[in-house]
């Protein structure tokens, strides 16, 4: 097996307008021009990429804000005027402009090369489409040569610097991860990097191409998100000058026949190359042509094989019609590869991508967007690092947060021990079993089990217990009880399946006991949510461990002690072992979460009072009491006290009506009449029915009253949602 390419290339990132988040597009404030792209200014972009991922070069002209795009751009190439940093559009900074300019972007300077190519027998290539760059071979020898050549090739458009790193097996991996990372950024960027030079050894043979397929899967994903730049524009212009011929050997590999490229349907690049090659210097490039031909054959071969798989559509690139040579046919193909279509193709044999269009390029553009197959679940990361606590109180707050896992779980030693020894014994015996753990919310059921698992995993590392696989599911995190199978299966094996299929697979795995596997510990949190009418989910959860071969330990958690008796049928509960109940001993509430939240609030109150009077006192009991009051006090009384005069009058009328009738319910009409009577007695003007109705519905909406929801109008029935004493107390206070 030949070593893979060792090259890294430095690239610059640009972003097309269409790739900017739609919600931000308006920030530009104008319509983008057809060939306009934006400098992508984002720290997360890795400017060093693998050479293999590069398709080709493209011409980019940097412009100041007020300049208009050069005429010779025509349809190929791009110009950049502004930069985009994911938040705003900025004009290109002076130094960036200078840098881009210096790198050979001035159209004039390119003319020589263009001319050259033009005269060279590919008439379809207009001068403007010359993208181009310099290639630096990473091989030290050619590199130095190139460095020298750089100033000598005024037409170099491309800024590509190959940082010739010798590739170790590791580097590839690293590259992959970096690619994945940038892919997950979710913004498709265009890589405008180009030609590569790789070691001769890399001259790819079809075999290698195939071998590599699997290993480059990961990069494929990346590719999928990176729209292929219009490949026509990618030509490797470098070697056009005779002076560079010496470089040829190293250029050939740069054709990138590495499987990645093929898969990425970037075959165009090789094509572009070939085309270049078929310029005057063709004769001198026999070796490379040969290679190309071989590749082509391979591609065709694959094509025949996989013809049936083609179903992707291609939109022809702008300039692909110009090719006439055989090689260019392939060029066409890759040009037409749509970035969008790549998504579906990811999973397929990648070569197919290039094939279908070779034969019959179907040109139906896609209408509906595709579901991203490999979307990474991720929240974007913050640009500003989170502040670390500076004061004692902030530090305390951080530690008091419920999310912090304490070093020890006080008062749970016994429970911990029970669960630990249960699971440990099962693991040691190589048997299975299940345990039911109950306790009201916030008593530390889940925390204890987590701690047990953590300890067991440590023990497994030191070989004290046999290794085991740990799977956790939570009934509340499911949309439907049967989804539990899907989740367990996915966490166990990574497979995706429908609920019924997953249940079959799991049953097969646990009950038929084929190959000896390592033991599994399954934690089922919020068990009661998994109740179904047939109890099939609960049954299978408790049934699996009873099979000797399953080596499955199931820990179930719920907050009702009598759950097994109450909701489970006998056949289910008979399979259950050892319930373990968590109780608590606090007076107000045993909920540890509640307690922590109160403490945290107390620190805030303390901080507030410090700010107020500038003292530096510690958190006192008074602060804690204030926090408790704040969190547990009933708001009904304050609500009544703060309601308007008419609202209070209405409540009085309700009390009067209740007292009169001896019932706890009255119709609106009765209360209204009572209200009018009260007003008359006190000599107040009485409100209209509409006003009173509004009052009633307002009180109903904040649930001081319970009001019928229907449109019963004056006949609607009203009740108090607070005790009469509370209302009386609240009204008297005034």
């Amino acid at each position: 097996y030949k070593p893979h390419s060792k090259k890294r290339a430095r690239v610059q990132w640009f972003v097309r307008f269409s790739e900017i988040h739609p919600s931000k597009q308006h920030l530009l404030g104008r319509k983008p021009e057809a060939q306009e792209i934006f400098w992508y200014d984002h720290p997360s972009c890795d400017s060093i990429v693998s050479v293999e991922t590069i398709i080709g070069t493209v011409q980019v002209v940097a412009l100041a804000l007020d300049e208009s795009p050069p005429a010779q751009l025509k349809h190929k190439g791009f110009f950049v005027r502004m930069s985009w940093d994911t938040k705003k559009f900025w004009p290109l900074s002076a130094e960036l402009l200078a840098e881009l300019g210096r790198r050979g972007d001035s159209p004039k300077s390119q003319n020589p090369v263009q001319a050259q190519t033009k005269t060279a027998e590919s008439p379809a290539w207009t001068t403007s489409e010359h993208a181009v760059g310099r290639i630096e071979s990473s091989h030290s020898a050619s590199k130095s040569r190139q460095a020298a050549a750089r100033p000598a090739t005024p037409g170099a458009r491309k800024r590509l610097e190959l940082a010739g790193l010798l590739k170790t097996p590791n580097t590839r991996k690293a590259r992959q991860t970096s690619c994945a990372a940038s892919a997950s950024l979710g913004i498709a960027k265009r890589k405008m990097a180009s030609s590569t030079a790789s070691s001769p050894s890399k001259r790819s043979s079809p075999d290698e191409a195939r071998e590599d397929k699997s290993s480059s899967e990961c990069r494929m994903v990346l590719r999928a998100r990176i729209p292929v730049t219009s490949t026509t524009e990618m030509s490797l212009g470098i070697t056009l000058t005779p002076s560079r011929r010496a470089q040829r050997p190293s250029v050939t590999p740069s054709i990138n026949l590495t499987p990645e490229n093929i898969k990425k349907r970037e075959t165009k690049e090789p094509e572009a190359h070939t085309e270049e090659v078929s310029t005057p210097h063709r004769s001198q490039r026999k070796s490379s042509l040969l290679t190309l031909n071989r590749i082509k054959q391979q591609l065709r071969y694959l094509d025949c094989k996989e013809n049936d798989e083609k179903e992707e559509e291609f939109v022809p690139g702008a300039g692909d019609s110009d090719s006439s040579s055989e090689e260019e046919e392939e060029g066409d193909v890759s040009t037409s590869a749509l970035p969008r279509t790549s998504r579906r193709r990811q999973d397929k044999n990648l070569q197919t991508a290039t094939q279908p269009s070779l034969q019959t390029p179907s040109k139906t553009p896609k209408k509906t967007p595709r579901a991203p197959r490999h979307a990474t679940p991720q929240i974007r990361s913050r640009s500003l690092a989170a502040q670390e606590p500076t004061t004692v109180l902030e530090e305390a707050r951080l530690r008091l947060h419920v999310s912090v896992v304490p070093e020890s779980l006080p008062c749970r030693e016994q429970e911990f021990q029970d669960i630990y020894s249960f699971v440990e014994s099962k693991l040691l015996d190589g048997t299975g079993g299940c345990m039911y753990i109950s306790g009201v919310p916030g008593t530390g059921k889940t925390a204890t089990v987590h701690e047990v698992i953590r300890c067991l995993q440590q023990a497994a590392q030191t070989k004290d217990v046999p290794p085991f696989q740990y799977v956790e599911v939570n009934g509340m995190k499911l949309t439907e009880p049967h989804q539990v199978y899907v989740q367990i299966l996915q966490k166990l094996t990574g497979q995706k399946a429908t609920a019924s299929h997953a249940s079959e697979l799991l049953a097969k795995q646990f009950c038929s006991g084929q190959a000896p596997r390592e033991a599994t510990v399954l934690l089922v949190d919020e068990l009661d949510l998994l109740w179904t009418h047939k109890q099939d989910v609960l049954y299978s959860l408790f049934d699996w461990p009873t099979h000797k071969e399953a080596r499955l330990v199931v820990l179930t958690i719920a907050n009702t002690m009598d759950l097994p008796e109450r909701i489970m049928m006998n056949r289910v509960s008979s399979r259950l072992v050892g319930p373990r109940h968590f109780s608590h001993g606090a007076a107000l509430s045993g909920d540890a979460r509640r307690c922590l939240d109160i403490c945290r609030r107390a620190t805030e109150i303390c901080e507030l009072s410090r700010q107020k009077d500038g003292t530096q006192g510690p958190v006192t009991v008074a602060h804690l009491m204030a926090a408790v009051d704040e969190m547990s006090s009933s708001s009904y009384i304050t609500a009544i006290r703060n309601s308007s005069v008419l609202e209070q009058g209405f409540l009085r009328a309700i009390l009067a009506e209740f007292r009169q009738s001896g019932l706890e319910e009255a119709t609106f009409q009765q209360i209204y009449n009572q209200h009018v009577a009260l007003c008359r007695m006190e000599g107040l003007p009485y409100p209209t029915m509409s006003e009173t109705m509004a009052v009633c519905s307002r009180l109903g909406s904040c649930r001081l009253l319970l009001v019928e929801p229907s449109r019963n109008d004056v006949l609607l029935r009203v009740r108090l949602n607070v005790s009469q004493d509370d209302v009386l107390y609240a009204l008297k206070e005034e």
Partner: protein
């Protein structure tokens, strides 16, 4: 009077005044927060801690309708966005009236967070996939590196009615574990909100509550009134703005205005109803009379506090009025028991026979028609649902008008025959 002598060409400004004030009344984004400084501080500190320190939090803002809950959170978010953290915060806004189940809510969250299973405006995947995708995404994050997400759940109580409260459980659970920092802010007008939460969900909620109770008195109400009507200093025509504000100042000291406002305040303390009142008053000013007067406010108040049913009664025909009076008598006689058309018709016939000279005797179908019209106006309401087979004449009905309403309406009823009016006061008037 000196104010009104100012008559240069201010019609463009006049339009602007109306625009500025209407915007203020409709969107209620303007102005200081009244009497909620403590609550505001609590909220903004909380949000800042989430944004800056990555501390997860959950809080409920509770207060009656129109008490400024949304205004409070909007103010806080605006301030938060103004300080340096603006790019470090993601916001998700949900409304219980729109996102009526967890499936819709999840799609919306995913869309607003712009996770990777979103293409364009579409969210891909089934409900179960979306849930696990979102949870996975949130789980991956940590305090120091992930962008904090602020969830604002409007009409929070409606989310508690979702199946199993899955969404709330998961949001609160994440806010209590070392995952992506979340601030879950619920807005609700229900005081019993905590009782709606399932015990597991409740246990995961931090029990922070911010109450907005309209806890201001009348003097403050006057101040609010003044402030809401005043033109801002950046108004283009300084002279006009000054005159306008001077007028507002005069109004706020006027006794009759005080009376109107006091009446209004007694009925309803919330700012939204004040805005409604001012809006009506504002629409009464014209180019030729560009300043608010106390009369405008008085009329606006009258309009606002009008009894809607009395208004409907004013538009009824004499026959329909007669039927209503007949129903009133039936209610008096049978003590609120339901009646049917036949009973009403008989009662009406008795009256017509007594006063044959003054009231035209209508055919029965015509009376029936009038009766049906009353039903359409929802002045009467059938006890049961109308079935096709039942005889209309014998369907039991109830009157949705109160005696006081009927009498008040009759007094203002134009061209009411004296006999009818007398009949209304007493069914025995012929004696």
């Amino acid at each position: 009077a000196s104010i009104y002598s100012y008559t240069p060409n201010y019609s463009p400004y006049f339009c602007q005044v109306q625009r500025i004030l209407r915007e203020r009344f409709c969107h209620s984004t303007h102005g200081e927060l009244f009497g909620v400084q403590v609550q505001y501080k609590h909220l903004i500190e909380l949000l800042k801690r989430t944004a800056i320190h990555g501390e997860s939090n959950s809080v409920l803002i509770i207060g009656p309708r129109g008490s400024g809950k949304t205004m409070l959170i909007n103010h806080a978010l605006k301030e938060l966005m103004e300080i340096e953290v603006s790019e470090n915060v993601l916001q998700v806004h949900l409304n219980g009236l729109l996102h009526i189940n967890d499936k819709i809510a999840l799609k919306e969250i995913t869309r607003q967070l712009y996770l990777e299973n979103v293409v364009g405006d579409k969210v891909f995947g089934s409900f179960a996939e979306n849930l696990s995708f979102l949870l996975e995404a949130l789980k991956k994050g940590d305090r120091t590196h992930s962008c904090p997400v602020i969830f604002v759940l409007d009409e929070f109580d409606l989310f508690a009615h979702h199946k199993n409260q899955t969404l709330l459980y998961n949001l609160f659970d994440i806010s209590q574990s070392a995952q992506t920092p979340l601030a879950v802010i619920g807005l609700t007008c229900r005081l019993d909100i905590l009782e709606l939460l399932e015990k597991r969900v409740k246990s995961r909620f931090s029990h922070r509550q911010i109450h907005l109770m309209n806890s201001f008195g009348f003097p403050q109400f006057i101040k609010i009134f003044k402030e809401q009507l005043s033109l801002p200093a950046e108004f283009p025509d300084k002279v006009f703005a000054e005159k306008w504000n001077e007028n507002v100042q005069c109004l706020s000291e006027d006794r009759s205005v005080h009376e109107v406002l006091q009446k209004h305040f007694n009925v309803n303390k919330n700012l939204r109803s004040l805005h409604m009142l001012l809006m009506v008053a504002l629409s009464r000013i014209t180019v030729s009379r560009p300043y608010l007067t106390s009369a405008d406010l008085m009329e606006a108040h009258q309009l606002c506090s009008m009894d809607s049913k009395a208004n409907i009664v004013h538009g009824l025909s004499v026959l329909e009025i007669c039927l209503i009076i007949a129903m009133k008598h039936l209610n008096d006689i049978y003590e609120e028991e339901p009646f049917n058309f036949q009973m009403v018709y008989n009662e009406f016939q008795k009256f017509v026979q007594r006063k044959a000279h003054s009231v035209y005797n209508f055919e029965k179908p015509v009376v029936m028609k009038a009766f049906e019209h009353l039903q359409q106006l929802e002045l009467i309401k059938p006890m049961e649902r109308t079935s096709v087979n039942s005889q209309k004449e014998y369907q039991l009905m109830k009157l949705l008008l109160d005696n006081t309403q009927i009498m008040n309406a009759l007094q203002k009823y134009p061209n009411c025959p004296t006999d009818v009016r007398q009949w209304a006061t007493s069914s025995l008037s012929w004696l």
